[in-house]
């Protein structure tokens, strides 16, 4: 087979594929149609070229070459394609098509009459026309073809340069390629340079078509057909659509409309739309659509109640606009209706929720105010207005307290009614209001609470004063007791009586010191034991210091005891201390030391009293007690403190008292 027959063969095959591709896209667009025609002409041309190149039969070649003469129609079709591609509007279409196609039809006729080329000649690429027939017709033919080709070329070049878009440049290249190759192989080379070459224009056109097809695909050039689109919209849109005539009769209705009103389409057609509207909203609906017709106005989002087939009222929102003919006469109405049942239910729920919420807020006994960052009031409930002493109907634009900050709590003066002032607690909490930063301010009437607090404080103060007074009186009475104890000494010189009364005075002083500490520290329930023992030993030392030179060493853990425990321990120490001073150091020449220790371990305590004196007199033990002092110590340690008493008499005397106390007093 002649290899030069292959390019047109491939071109014709590719053309078929392109035709199928375009056919499947949409044949209703103008660009599509023109392009389709161009490709058909090109296919005939390339298929004919393949046949007359491949055949050895002169007659067959002659038939195919005549068929191929149709190629010339590619030129006006391409011109038309370019103008359609650039969306150039042609005002006088008849003149345009006459001017475009008349010269071409003339050339085609001349060519078919064999006035352009003479006879077929077989070359190495197959049959082709070589020699001109009539030189004048030939020249006219060539000049006109060249002019149209150049016109096409420059037109596409002009728009490409003007619009500077990639798709325009690709289109320019697609148009230019066959023009240049065609002029080169069919005009310049054979006529001016006398070089015969096989024509490659069909192959170049194939490249052109591929490029255009790519542009179509890539840039989605095929606009969908308007009518088809409208049909699709009507079918798929969720809103009900009615097209009414001027008497409001339904002329077109979509599926959604028949779905939501539960009528079949034919049941609705030619019926007045008013039949499908509830009486409750009929007047409003008629007024709206009449207004639209009278004023050529587009009604939007109006609400109405439609009636379904089973007489159920359906809340809808509708839009309405007029439809006009070419003479701008109103011929009907377009009515779009949206079922808003769900929205209405939601609105209803929201309204109920909102109503409940507002009800709670409005009836709250706490003042609630929303202020923005600049302290402008966005909302305040009635009680807040009363608290801030606003008159009925008065609007306060700015919150009257400047120094509010997040999570602050402060007390303010508020109006609690009848021009009576009270105390309010103002709490500020950061919040959001309509998506902006704001403060939620709560004002709480704490007048009563404050009054109770005041009474409580006053009552507490009174109790404190009473307790202080009681302690004062106790101390005063203890002074009287001491006075009474001293009275017998005025009338007696008995040393034993004097000693007994003196001991009694020490015991009273020990107890008085407890009251002194409870009263002085203003803590009426417990005292610091270490401080107490320091004061007690100071007193005892001070009393005896003229007689004895004694060193007292204290090692007492930091604990607080209730008054009972303190008195018990204090009396024990007083007894032991006076005993040590009276008896233990009588014959002692070296240093006299008294050590008092209190150790705390959890709730267990060890009180150790120690002196370096003469020790326990012979015949005296815990089991055999014959002194008041030791009897008192045993009584206090074992019975009062519920503890254990241990006496050691080595290098002096040592008393160990072990006792426990519940947490309440530690």
């Amino acid at each position: 087979m002649n290899i030069w027959a292959l390019p047109p063969l491939i071109s014709s095959i590719i053309s078929i594929f392109i035709l199928l591709y375009i056919f499947n896209l949409d044949l209703k667009s103008k660009f599509n149609r023109i392009f389709f025609l161009v490709v058909i002409v090109s296919f005939i041309w390339s298929f004919s070229e393949f046949n007359y190149r491949v055949t050895n039969d002169y007659q067959v070649a002659l038939v195919w070459t005549n068929i191929a003469k149709i190629w010339i129609f590619i030129l006006p079709l391409t011109f038309d394609l370019i103008l359609t591609f650039v969306d150039k509007k042609i005002k006088n279409k008849i003149l345009y098509y006459i001017l475009l196609y008349l010269p071409i039809v003339s050339l085609y006729v001349i060519d078919m009459m064999n006035l352009v080329m003479s006879d077929l000649v077989k070359s190495y690429w197959g049959y082709s026309y070589i020699k001109p027939a009539n030189p004048y017709f030939n020249a006219i033919y060539l000049i006109l073809v060249t002019v149209i080709c150049l016109l096409n070329g420059f037109l596409s070049l002009y728009y490409a340069l003007k619009r500077k878009r990639i798709k325009d440049f690709i289109f320019l290249f697609a148009i230019f390629l066959p023009i240049i190759v065609g002029i080169l192989t069919d005009v310049i080379l054979p006529i001016f340079l006398k070089i015969l070459v096989p024509g490659l224009t069909t192959a170049c056109f194939t490249i052109t078509f591929i490029l255009i097809a790519i542009i179509i695909k890539k840039y989605n050039l095929f606009m969908p057909d308007l009518k088809k689109s409208i049909e699709t919209i009507l079918l798929t849109m969720s809103d009900a659509l009615f097209i009414l005539d001027t008497d409001f009769k339904i002329k077109i209705v979509n599926k959604s409309a028949s779905d939501f009103l539960e009528y079949r389409e034919e049941e609705m057609l030619n019926k007045t739309i008013l039949l499908f509207i509830s009486e409750k909203s009929l007047t409003h609906f008629i007024r709206m659509i009449k207004f639209a017709m009278q004023h050529d106005y587009i009604i939007k989002d109006e609400e109405a109640l439609f009636l379904s087939k089973n007489e159920e009222e359906i809340p809808v929102s509708f839009s309405c606009s007029v439809i006009k003919d070419n003479n701008k006469q109103i011929i009907g109405l377009l009515l779009i209706v949206r079922d808003i049942t769900s929205r209405k239910k939601l609105e209803e729920i929201l309204e109920i929720t909102n109503e409940s919420f507002v009800n709670i807020i409005e009836k709250s006994i706490e003042g609630i105010i929303i202020v923005d960052k600049s302290l402008s009031i966005n909302y305040m409930n009635p009680i807040a207005k009363r608290y801030l002493n606003m008159l009925e109907g008065e609007i306060l634009y700015r919150f009257p307290y400047d120094n509010i900050s997040s999570y602050s709590i402060e007390e303010i003066e508020i109006n609690i009614g009848n021009n009576e002032k009270g105390i309010g607690e103002l709490i500020t909490i950061p919040t959001k209001w309509k998506k902006n930063d704001a403060f939620l301010i709560i004002i709480r009437d704490i007048t009563t609470r404050k009054e109770i607090e005041k009474k409580l404080i006053s009552s507490l103060k009174l109790k404190e004063n009473l307790l202080a007074e009681i302690h004062h009186r106790i101390k005063n009475n203890l002074q009287i007791v001491m006075t009474l104890l001293r009275l017998p000494l005025r009338f007696s010189d008995n040393p034993i009586l004097k000693s007994i009364l003196l001991d009694a005075q020490f015991r009273i002083k020990t107890m008085a010191l407890i009251h002194e500490k409870l009263y002085k520290d203003e803590n009426f329930f417990e005292i610091n034991f270490k401080d107490y023992i320091i004061e007690l030993t100071d007193f005892l030392l001070s009393f005896f210091q003229m007689q004895k030179d004694i060193k007292v060493e204290l090692s007492i853990d930091d604990v607080n005891f209730d008054s009972d425990t303190s008195i018990s321990c204090g009396l024990i120490i007083t007894e032991l201390f006076t005993n040590s001073i009276k008896y233990a150091f009588n014959n002692k020449e070296d240093e006299k030391i008294i050590t008092i220790t209190l150790k705390k371990e959890n709730n267990n305590f060890t009180l150790i009293y120690k002196d370096n004196g003469s020790g326990l007199p012979e015949g005296i033990s815990l089991e055999n007690i014959n002194t008041t002092g030791l009897y008192l110590i045993k009584l206090l340690a074992i019975e009062k403190l519920k503890g254990m008493l241990e006496i050691k008499s080595e290098n002096g005397l040592e008393y160990n008292i072990y006792f426990s106390i519940t947490d309440d007093y530690i």
């Binding site: 004062h472 005063n476 203890l478 009287i480 001491m482 001293r486 005025r490 005075q505 008085a512």
Partner: protein
């Protein structure tokens, strides 16, 4: 020995004080239960020392009486009291007392405080 005036509204305590101080060799030139009565006597007698209770029967308390005695006659004062809280101490401090004898006090404490006041 010193001339002492005692201002104390409790008869028993007053008697005990008189007895203790007399035995210590001092002369009690006057004893009163009311501050205002004491002031009249002090004007006449000019004692060496005044022992002053805080709570008194009359219109003025011990501190008020002591204040007049201190600033009018500059006579040393020893307070005898069962009060010992800060409020009292702060108030009484302004009268610059020589000592406080906190009730109940022993005879020894009393004598020691008086001796200290007179020797100062």
């Amino acid at each position: 020995m010193a001339k002492i005036i005692i201002v104390e509204d409790d008869a028993l305590i007053l008697d005990d004080l008189k007895n203790s101080l007399s035995r210590a060799g001092h002369t009690i030139i006057g004893s009163f239960a009311k501050g205002e009565n004491a002031l009249i006597d002090i004007e006449k007698e000019k004692p060496d020392l005044v022992l002053m209770d805080i709570k008194l029967e009359g219109y003025i308390d011990g501190i008020e009486t002591a204040a007049i005695i201190k600033f009018k006659y500059n006579i040393p004062i020893i307070y005898l009291t069962a009060f010992s809280n800060e409020k009292f101490v702060e108030r009484s401090k302004q009268t610059e007392p020589i000592a406080y004898l906190l009730k109940p006090f022993s005879e020894e404490e009393l004598i020691k405080a008086v001796d200290k006041a007179l020797n100062k």
